[in-house]
């Protein structure tokens, strides 16, 4: 028996070394997509295979793993032709020489939401075919909030009137204190705070950091006031925010389209509104864009590009992707079809004033330092001025531009 096990082990070892290669093979398109999108694409590609006789293999890879695994598998000749991912990966992927620019998009760029093309652009080239955009907005409970606030003053008034911790009811919740800088950005941006500025060529400049400018500090104070005035409990995290909202105990939450499915399932009579303005200024959220990218180590670059051009950048495919995962299409002909849905209009309004989440590799240093600063602000350990200044000093130290 032992011998048998030994042989079996040797057997599996050898298979482990040679088998299961999801590699880019000439004449076969290999796509890596996450669990939500892999089945949709597998279904859609059948039509492509039927028409052109080209096999399309869709492999499910966890969303968080796609970027790192492409970096390992691509150069080893074992990567895919196409990946589906977020636009903020491109900085790192381009620095690693893993992405191929997609030329045909330059001809049809006006068929896409401008911010989506901007998000996938770098150095004058476009590195991804965008298919959805997402940005945070104000989701409100229509049973508690009749008219969503247009200005921040109205917003505070509504939030204060509804907040009653004794009853476990809240006017406004957000997972900002978690700490979550992504959700805090609209407060920072409203008064002119930004992450990275643009240089003369319109490229993000890691030397120009705007997270401790006057506007960002005002935004920091605004968040602190939400905490100190008792409106926003400092322990609010994503689970508490969505859980209480889905129990009908919260008037408004600040979050994105990913929360809507559970809200619908909970039977909440919800609405989506643009973020309120402060002193006439828009609260500009980060815009995230998802799209298709072509590996620089693909054996089928032209085929992959052609697949994207002829088959993905079409109204039908974009609508099918939207049906399966309702987040706003980035492809305007598809967006126009679903524009009757008020949710789509509201999300589009938020994305329209937003700014693409920076995609340069230096963002890694920003997220960690900024999150620490945010927690120090909301726990009232450090003033917003000092916390944000320290954070920017730390970012400079980490990325090496002191």
């Amino acid at each position: 028996m032992k011998k048998f096990i030994a042989l079996l082990l040797g057997f599996t070892m050898l298979f482990g070394l040679t088998g299961a290669v999801w590699a880019s093979t000439p004449g076969v398109l290999t796509i890596w997509a996450d669990a939500t999108r892999a089945p949709i694409l597998a279904g859609l590609s059948e039509a492509f295979t039927a028409e052109f006789g080209i096999p399309v293999e869709v492999h499910e890879v966890g969303f968080g793993d796609i970027r790192d695994r492409l970096g390992i598998a691509g150069p080893a000749g074992e990567g895919p032709d196409i990946i589906i991912g977020a636009h903020d990966w491109i900085g790192q992927l381009i620095a690693d020489g893993l992405l191929e620019p997609i030329l045909f998009l330059e001809d049809i760029r006006d068929q896409f939401v401008p911010v989506a093309i901007e998000a996938f652009s770098s150095g004058g080239r476009i590195y991804g075919l965008p298919y959805l955009t997402e940005a945070v907005g104000l989701i409100y409970n229509r049973d508690l909030v009749l008219v969503p606030p247009a200005t921040f003053t109205e917003f505070i008034a509504i939030a204060s009137a509804l907040t009653d911790p004794e009853k476990g009811q809240f006017g406004f919740l957000s997972n900002i204190p978690q700490p979550d800088p992504y959700h805090a950005f609209p407060f920072i941006s409203a008064f002119g705070g930004y992450v990275f500025g643009l240089d003369e060529e319109g490229v993000l400049d890691p030397r120009d950091i705007g997270l401790d400018n006057e506007g960002a500090i005002i935004g920091g104070h605004l968040i602190l006031e939400l905490i100190t005035s008792g409106l926003l409990p400092v322990g609010t995290d994503y689970g508490a925010m969505t859980g209480l909202f889905n129990d009908g105990m919260v008037g408004m939450i600040l979050t994105g389209p990913w929360a809507v499915r559970d809200i619908k399932a909970a039977g909440i009579n919800y609405g989506i509104a643009p973020l309120p303005t402060i002193g006439g200024q828009a609260m500009r959220p980060f815009v995230g864009v998802h799209g298709f990218m072509v590996s620089a180590f693909s054996a089928n670059k032209i085929l992959a590009m052609t697949f994207l051009e002829e088959f993905i950048a079409t109204k039908d495919t974009m609508l099918a992707l939207y049906e399966a995962d309702p987040r706003n299409p980035a492809f305007i002909p598809a967006l126009d079809v679903v524009a009757a849905d008020p949710d789509v209009v509201a999300w589009a309004a938020n994305a329209a004033v937003g700014t693409p989440m920076p995609s340069i590799p230096e963002m890694g240093a920003v997220w960690t330092a900024w999150a620490d600063a945010l927690l120090l602000i909301v726990t009232e350990e450090v003033s917003p001025e000092d916390a944000l200044r320290d954070a920017v000093m730390r970012i400079r130290a980490v990325i090496g531009y002191e």
Partner: protein, 512 residues
Amino acid sequence: MSMTAILAKILLLGVVDSLGVWTAVGLVVAQRWGMLAGLVVGLLALNYAVLSKRAYPLRYLLPGLIPFCLMVVYPITVNMGVAFTNFGTGHRLTKEQVIDHFESRFYLPEDGERFTFQAFRDHEEDFIFLLVSKETGTTYLSAEGILEIVTLEDSRFVFDRGEIVQINGYYRLSRGELFRLLGQLQEIRLERNEEVIRLTSIREFRVYQQRYHYDREQGTLTDLKTGIIYTPIAGAFTSADGERLLPGFVVRIGFQNFLEIINNPHIARPFFRVFRWTFAFAALSVATTFVLGFSLAVLLNDPHLKMRHLYRTILIIPYAIPGFISILIWAGMLNVDFGIVNRILQDLFGTTIPWLHDPLWAKVAVVLVNLWLGFPYMMIICLGALQSIPSELYEAARIDGAGSWQRFRKVTFPLLLISIAPLLVGSFAFNFNNFNVIYLLTGGGPPIPGAMTPAGATDILISYTYNLAFGGVGAQYGFAAAISLIIFAIIATISAINFRFTRRLERISEGL
């Protein structure tokens, strides 16, 4: 051994060997010499173990040794190699791959012409193309890769319903055929007066100009558009005025990663604070889990206790639930405002504790949660050890007039420690690197005001390493590997000292 068993043995071995040879050929082609050596050694050892009578014990060892080499020795070797390189974001590819990358870069000239095309193929799989310029409307035909101007009146063209279907015995490709041949067509380069024209999509050809040229003699890269010359310095092609081209490539950089840890004040300064807490955390984790696990084991071992089995089963439950889940549930329960723990404290004592927001309480929380996760393990091993103590010893002690406390002090505890001590050392080493509980519960936080490094109050060395490697610019694998080697050295030293101490314990037991 029966005939069938021998046959089965030889057959299976044959299958494994042929698979091995097949793999070896693949590895030779891929030039993976290290893996090939490993495969050959493994395969020979396997054959020897199965065929030789003298190597009988090897048959029992090999099933453990092969995975040990694959999953422990190999990763550690790779890790040691990586620690001396700049492998990470911007430096992922080999130099050859980077040169390929730049040589295949092109730029489209401002007024670069674009062409619609039709492709034709003869029976010998040779292609010719008919290109029509989108700008000038001129028609070109490719011959031997060179474009020549033609007119539609050309006698070589065969028309059918107004379309050219055949040229000189070359037949026009349908759209479907084009799709299937794109892999071949993408390599085709057509020429027109020094210009390169290649396929951009199934719809068009374009004029390309190469962007970079690599000079193999000089080892330099020239930007053909600007004329700037780049020389390879520290893993990136660098211009005279210091501009570094991305992507860079992987190079050996000696001890630079290690020197960075020592010389960069932002990294070195918190290192000792983090080290102290790591040590304290590991020691506290071992101490608390051992004390609780051991106490419960003594209780459960008492034959007077009713329903022992039920209690034992219940107490093992925390061990049976995946740590990931329990840690996240604990994080929710310890939430300042919405957590059940603070709600109970509020109702009972009218006060709450800033569990994960205060440096000291966060440390308490981490140790408490780790106690919850770790005590069942200690309880189980203590129960086993207690049952293995011979009852004659207790009888002898009783006859000698020892009370229950004395029996515990002089018999139970020392004997238990002999078998448990090595496991305590192992538990210490495990908790020293207990990334999950820190990362999932506090994320290393709360942050320390004014800190210039991503090191929070509860960060241990391994989570600090993670922050440094992945919380900066992209992912710095080489740097992370260097720190993990240092952590490995620290743990190896501590464990060596601990084992020496344990051996002394054993010597005491011999005198017992």
